[in-house]
């Protein structure tokens, strides 16, 4: 995924907060996924801001390391391929 992408959660996926982040369950394929807490601001963004804007905001608030985004984009790409999130 790219900094400029906007993403939203698949309609058939239910997300439940847990102490490590969240559990995501897809009613489409009955798969359970673990979502690390570092991904939550992106997964829950509902497409309102780009991934880069969300990351810049988190870095500005000291909630994300400046060099962390490339790794998170790779993980988000994995979630996109599994159908958990979609790029708008």
């Amino acid at each position: 995924m790219k900094r400029s992408d906007h993403i939203h959660l698949d309609d058939a996926v239910s997300l439940r907060p847990e102490r490590f982040g969240a559990l995501a369950y897809s009613y489409r394929d009955r798969q359970l996924l673990f979502i690390d807490r570092s991904l939550m601001p992106f997964v829950e963004s509902d497409g309102r801001r780009s991934l880069g804007e969300i990351a810049d905001d988190l870095v500005g608030r000291g909630a994300l390391a400046p060099d962390a985004l490339p790794r998170l984009l790779t993980v988000l790409e994995g979630l996109r391929r599994k159908g958990v999130v979609h790029a708008l």
Partner: protein
């Protein structure tokens, strides 16, 4: 990684088993809940809906509905629809005897619904001694009704010493009808206690089953053979006992148990008529204890511990061994466990 995340419990169950009723029109010899007659104090419709509201509020992803035979409840369809309207997925297990054409059509047009037909052998000769005379043909008829609707049903098969040789044929039968096979472990729970020694797999069959499951990745197991993962690469699933941590069971009277295989007073965490389900899940002393417990004893020095985590608590309990002992069906037997690093027991 998942084991460490899940062992200490979740904010809510991933799924839970709801035994809707003890009423059943069959008398399977291995029934986990010793079902037959309806209990006089089973949850009323409004109580059941209140429970579903609680689960929806906790965002329980899905429920496994069983019994007894859940379709004997007059409000069965009403309660399933109520759950689905609240975005709780429903997987219901049925012996298929009450499933007619109208029910099959309703099932096929309902989202978030999975159906498991119980079948414990590939022929009446194997199935009926366990589930009752005529049960094979009635289950088969239910499968045909669902197949005719194009619904991807599942067949749940408790594999036994007698049925094991028919696994390939059963797999072919089910997939040939557009279904999916689910194979689960016999437990010595309920009436299963009486037939455990006669029906449980032999050690050789358990080893062969592990290889068979590894070769048939389309076959579901409900994570029930994690004790066999000690033989090599882990089987699909979480490979851990989720009792009181990620799953639990509510019986027809509202009693909450750690899992559907331990319907025993020692594993009863509370009753939803006395306190809210949410409080039982998060605060019950039993569940709190279970979330701080790991199998100890000789399992902790076994090289396969990371794969099987000591096996099934229910099988240990109902065969009278300590929960810190190895699973009675441990693939290594008593003498030949692979040596590994001794790990500290957490309390």
């Amino acid at each position: 990684m998942h084991y460490d995340l899940l062992r200490q419990g979740l904010e809510a169950p991933i799924c839970l088993t709801w035994e809707m009723t003890y009423a059943c029109n069959l008398r399977c010899v291995h029934c986990l809940s010793s079902s037959g007659k309806r209990a006089p104090d089973e949850l009323a419709t409004e109580e059941a809906k209140h429970l579903l509201d609680a689960w929806a509020g906790m965002r329980v992803f899905y429920i496994n509905v069983g019994g007894g035979e859940p379709m004997t409840r007059p409000d069965f369809f009403e309660l399933v629809e109520y759950a689905i309207e609240r975005r709780i997925g429903v997987k219901f297990s049925t012996n298929g005897t009450l499933l007619d054409g109208a029910a099959a059509r309703w099932i096929a047009t309902t989202d978030y619904l999975d159906v498991q037909i119980s079948l414990d052998g590939v022929s009446a000769q194997v199935n009926d001694p366990i589930r009752g005379s005529g049960s094979f043909s009635r289950a088969r008829h239910a499968m045909e009704l669902l197949a005719a609707e194009g619904f991807p049903f599942k067949v749940n098969h408790v594999v036994t010493r007698q049925s094991f040789d028919g696994l390939d044929s059963l797999h072919a039968l089910v997939t040939g009808m557009g279904g999916q096979l689910r194979v689960t472990r016999l437990r010595p729970s309920g009436r299963g206690r009486d037939v455990w020694n006669a029906l449980k797999l032999t050690a050789d069959q358990n080893r062969a089953l592990y290889s068979w499951l590894r070769a048939h990745t389309d076959v579901l197991t409900g994570d029930s053979f994690f004790h066999l993962s000690a033989l090599g690469s882990p089987l699909d699933g979480l490979n851990m006992c989720g009792a009181g941590r990620i799953v639990c069971c509510v019986d027809p009277r509202g009693d909450v148990y750690a899992c559907p295989f331990v319907l025993a007073p020692e594993f009863r965490a509370g009753n939803i008529r006395n306190e809210p389900f949410e409080a039982i899940w998060s605060e019950s002393p039993l569940f709190r204890r279970m979330r701080g417990w790991e199998v100890g004893g000789q399992c902790r020095s076994c090289g396969a511990y990371d794969r099987c985590h000591g096996g099934c608590m229910a099988v240990k309990h109902f065969t009278g061994v300590s929960l810190d002992d190895p699973d009675p069906e441990c693939v290594f037997g008593a003498q030949s466990r692979p040596r590994g690093m001794a790990l500290p027991v957490l309390h």
